[in-house]
C-alpha cells in the first residue's frame, strides 16, 4: 500500500489527456447573506483524476466535499486556483462533465425515457437519436421495461439509476458523483455499488466520487483522496488502492481492505 503526498496526486500520465480532471490549489469561499461573514469551505485542495480512473473523495461531515464537487461541475466559482478538464479551464458547466446528485432530482412530470434524454434534449440532439441513446442507457443501468414509468412509481434505488443513466446519456468525459447512494437503504446501497462498478467498467469514464462512507470509497476507487476537517479544508492524504478488479463484494471483509479502512478512519479522526 503506497501513500502519495498531497500535490503529487498525479500518476505518470501525460497531463491534459482527454478525460483528465486536474484540480489545482482550489479555494472556495462563501459569504453568508445574513452577516456578510466570509466562510472558507475549501482552503487549498489539489489532486488529479487520470483518464478512466475512479477516485473517491472522503472527509468528515461538513468539510466541503459537496462544495468542491459543485465547483468542479462549474456551478459555483472558485475563489482561487483552477479546475481543468482535458487541459481546458473550467468556467461553468460543460458537457464534458455530468453530475449525479444525492437526490435523484428527476423531472416528476416526465417518464423515465423523458428524464434520461433530458440532457441530450438540452444539447439539442436530434429527437430520434436522443431516444435511441436513452434506451441504451436505460438498458445499461438495468431498467429495461420501465421506460414509460413516472418517477413517483420508482423506488429510491431505481430513481438513482435513472439519475445515473441521465448523466451517462450525455456521454461526458468525467462523471461527478456527490454521495449518490447516501439516501438509499444499506442493501440497495451495496447493490448500487456493484452496479456502478459494472457500468463504469463498460463505459470507461473518469469518475470523481464523493462520499462520507469509507468502505464505499475504498471499494469503488483506484485512489482515495482524504480531506481534512473544515473550514479551509485541505487534502491530508491520498491513498492508493492496490486491490485488483473486478472486485467482489466480499473483498470488504478481507484483512487488506480492513487495514485501509482503518488507516483512513484514523487519518480522518486525527485531522
Amino acid at each position: 500500500m503506497s501513500l502519495t503526498q498531497p500535490g503529487f496526486a498525479t500518476p505518470p500520465i501525460a497531463a491534459g489527456g482527454a478525460g483528465e480532471l486536474a484540480i489545482d490549489h482550489a479555494r472556495i469561499e462563501f459569504i453568508a447573506r445574513r452577516d456578510n461573514k466570509k466562510y472558507t469551505a475549501i482552503g487549498d485542495v489539489s489532486f488529479t483524476v487520470a483518464p478512466e480512473e475512479f477516485v473517491s473523495v472522503v472527509g468528515p461531515s461538513g468539510c466541503g466535499k459537496s462544495s468542491l464537487m459543485l465547483a468542479v461541475a462549474g456551478l459555483i466559482p472558485l475563489a482561487r486556483g483552477s479546475v481543468r478538464v482535458s487541459g481546458k479551464l473550467v468556467t461553468g458547466p460543460e458537457h464534458d462533465r455530468a453530475m449525479v446528485f444525492q437526490s435523484a432530482s428527476l423531472l416528476p412530470w416526465r417518464s423515465v425515457v423523458g428524464n434520461v434524454s433530458y440532457g441530450l434534449e438540452l444539447m439539442k440532439v436530434d429527437r430520434a437519436q436522443a431516444r435511441q441513446r436513452a434506451h441504451e442507457m436505460i438498458e445499461l443501468v438495468g431498467l429495461s421495461g420501465f421506460e414509460s414509468n413516472y418517477p413517483h412509481e420508482l423506488s429510491g434505488g431505481m430513481q438513482q439509476r435513472v439519475n445515473l443513466a441521465r448523466a451517462l446519456a450525455a456521454d461526458p468525459l468525467v462523471l461527478l458523483m456527490d454521495e449518490p447512494f447516501a439516501a438509499l437503504d444499506a442493501q440497495t446501497r451495496e447493490l448500487m455499488q456493484d452496479e456502478l462498478l459494472r457500468i463504469w467498467t463498460e463505459m470507461k469514464k473518469s469518475v470523481m466520487f464523493v462520499t462520507h462512507q469509507i468502505d464505499e470509497a475504498i471499494f469503488l476507487a483506484d485512489r482515495v483522496v482524504v480531506l481534512g476537517r473544515g473550514p479551509a479544508t485541505k487534502v491530508v492524504k491520498v491513498v492508493e488502492i492496490p486491490l485488483g478488479r473486478p472486485r467482489p463484494e466480499s473483498i470488504k471483509r478481507t484483512p487488506e481492505f480492513v487495514a485501509i479502512v482503518d488507516d483512513i478512519w484514523t487519518t480522518i479522526r486525527g485531522a
Partner: protein, 285 residues
C-alpha cells in the same frame, strides 16, 4: 414501485356452484363501487329538489317567494323558447368570454415575468397587494360611469375580477420552482429559455390551473354583479328585472343557467387538470 396484486384466490372456491354465486354478488358490488360517486350524488340532488317541491306544495314556505322546481323548469323552457334567454346567454357569454381571455393572457404573461425576474416582483408587489385588496365589486358603479352601461363596463369587471387569482397563482407557481431541478438543468448547461420551458413552466402548471379555476369563479361573479347593478341585457339583467317584477320562476331559471355555466366551465377545467396530472401519485382512492 407499484405492485400489481394478482388475485390468487380464483382457484380456491369449494365447489362449482358457490363459484358462480360469488360471481353474481361480485358483479353487483362492482357496479356499486364504480358508480357510487354518481349514485350518491344523484340521490343527494334528488332529495333537495324533492323536498323543495314538496315544501312549496305543502305551503311550508310561501311559494310566491320560493318558487318550486317544476315552475322553474317551465320558466326555463319559456326563457329559451323566445323569452330572450338565448340572447341573454349570448351577451353574458361574450362579456365573460372576452373578459376572461384578456385576464388569462395578461395574468399569465405578467405572472410569469414577475415570478421570474426579482426586479419586477419588487416593483409590482405592493401594487398587486393593494389591487387585490380593493373589492372590485365596489368599483362597479365607477366602471359604469367610465365605460357606460353597455358591454364594456362588464368586461372591465370580469377582467379585474379574474386577473388577480390568475396573476397571483402564476407568480407563486414560478417562485416555488424546485431548486434542485433548476440545479440539474444548469449542470447540463441549460439556457434561461430552456430552464423556463423545461423546468419552471411544467412545474408551475398545477398552481396556474388553480389560479385559472379561481379566476373563472370570480369572473362569473363579477359579470353577474355588473349586470345586476346596471345593464341592458344579459343573464344578470334577467335576474334583476325578473326579481323586481316578482317573476320568481324566471329569476331562478336565469340563476340556474349561470350556475350551469359555472359547473360546465369547471368540469372542462377538471378534465384538463386530469390530463396534466397523469404523472402525479394519486392522493386518494
Amino acid at each position: 414501485m407499484t405492485a400489481t396484486i394478482v388475485q390468487a384466490d380464483e382457484q380456491t372456491s369449494s365447489g362449482d356452484e358457490s363459484g358462480l354465486e360469488d360471481l353474481e354478488v361480485n358483479r353487483v358490488r362492482d357496479f356499486w363501487f364504480r358508480r357510487q360517486r354518481a349514485i350518491i350524488g344523484l340521490v343527494g340532488v334528488a332529495l333537495v329538489v324533492g323536498s323543495w317541491e314538496l315544501s312549496a306544495d305543502l305551503k311550508l314556505v310561501n311559494p310566491v317567494f320560493s318558487s318550486k322546481p317544476s315552475a322553474i323548469a317551465i320558466a326555463l323552457k319559456d326563457y329559451f323558447d323566445g323569452g330572450g334567454g338565448l340572447h341573454a346567454l349570448q351577451v353574458s357569454a361574450t362579456e365573460f368570454g372576452i373578459g376572461f381571455a384578456i385576464a388569462l393572457v395578461a395574468g399569465l404573461l405578467l405572472g410569469l415575468a414577475i415570478g421570474w425576474w426579482r426586479f419586477l416582483d419588487y416593483l409590482f408587489d405592493p401594487l398587486i397587494n393593494v389591487g387585490y385588496a380593493v373589492p372590485r365589486i365596489a368599483l362597479v358603479p365607477l366602471f359604469v360611469i367610465w365605460f357606460g352601461i353597455g358591454i364594456q363596463s362588464k368586461l372591465a369587471i370580469v377582467v379585474l375580477s379574474a386577473v388577480f387569482p390568475i396573476l397571483l397563482n402564476t407568480i407563486t407557481g414560478v417562485k416555488t420552482t424546485d431548486a434542485s431541478l433548476l440545479r440539474v438543468a444548469r449542470s447540463f448547461k441549460a439556457s434561461n429559455v430552456q430552464l423556463f420551458r423545461t423546468v419552471v413552466l411544467p412545474g408551475a402548471l398545477p398552481q396556474i390551473v388553480t389560479g385559472i379555476r379561481l379566476g373563472i369563479g370570480l369572473g362569473l361573479v363579477g359579470m353577474i354583479v355588473g349586470e345586476l347593478v346596471s345593464s341592458t341585457a344579459g343573464l344578470g339583467f334577467t335576474i334583476e328585472t325578473a326579481g323586481n317584477n316578482f317573476q320568481m320562476p324566471l329569476m331562478f331559471a336565469a340563476v340556474a343557467v349561470v350556475s350551469a355555466a359555472g359547473v360546465f366551465l369547471s368540469q372542462m377545467l377538471r378534465i384538463l387538470e386530469r390530463r396534466l396530472d397523469r404523472w402525479r401519485p394519486q392522493t386518494h382512492e
